[in-house]
Subunit: 161 residues, 2 copies
């Protein structure tokens, strides 16, 4: 009995006429996402960094070369204002640097510093381990299947504007 089984049971009793089957997938995605995010947040406290800041660093770490602020905004799914604030905090901590872009003076490029790279080298593998631990209940085959199904959903959802 997971959280969604209990929720579904509740709806069955209070609104038996509704077809709530979509929560079997979407409700679990929301719940697992929130739990995983809380977990990661707690794990990152030792690095004195927030989940959002870690997301920014990961985005930069996996990008080829510096990224525009707007690219970071798109990847993190936060507002542009948030990107400015996160960037300020990360610059202050010496984890990233901002550079102008000579081809367009409006653009601000963001890049990891050596210290930022180190933080990712240290924290990202730990992050991957906790993520992997959450999939411990599945066989390799099930993981592949699950990834493929989620990929289909992701493509549908990303297409909805």
């Amino acid at each position: 009995m997971d959280f969604v089984d209990r929720a579904r049971q509740g709806w069955e009793i209070s609104r038996p006429d509704l077809d709530v089957s979509s929560i079997e997938v979407m409700g679990r995605i929301g719940r697992i996402g929130a739990l995983a995010s809380h977990h990661a947040g707690r794990a990152l406290q030792s690095a004195e960094i927030t989940r959002a800041e870690f997301d920014v660093l990961c985005t930069l770490a996996r990008g080829e070369g510096p990224l525009r602020a707007s690219e970071v905004t798109a990847a993190t799914m936060l507002s542009g204002a948030s990107t400015t604030k996160n960037a300020e905090r990360l610059v202050k901590r010496g984890l990233i640097e901002r550079l102008p872009w000579e081809r367009d003076g409006r653009v601000v490029l963001m890049r990891l510093t050596a210290k930022g790279e180190e933080l990712i080298d240290r924290e990202f593998p730990r992050f991957l381990e906790t993520d992997a631990a959450m999939l411990a209940g599945l066989t390799a085959n099930e993981r592949t299947q699950l990834a493929a199904l989620l990929r289909k959903v992701a493509l549908t959802v990303e297409a909805l504007t």
Copy 2:
């Protein structure tokens, strides 16, 4: 090519030694969850209600009878302080009411008003429809499979404290 395919490609180039396969599942869960949540938030603007407030109302709607504030806190995964604030806003809008519990004076019970029930009757089916639309790319069989796999993950993750 969804968001995670691009992220994975990035890691492959910048950190080819790391096994980032867990993001195939966990990264997509996070991404789909965030997109779905943004979507729902936008849809609820017409009802002048936030996602968090809607979650509180749904929790109460599917519960049998009034729920304790602490039960709402557990279900929404927000802090107790947030439950107090959300409850205040919802009481002010006449969508819920707070009652004392005679068996324990510390406890505050929360219950939907008729107006709150109406809002759920109106908005929850619309919410289910958008959720269902996100699964449009899957066959009925795939949906069942996906739900079963996510259920396993949910049970693992919920067990991690």
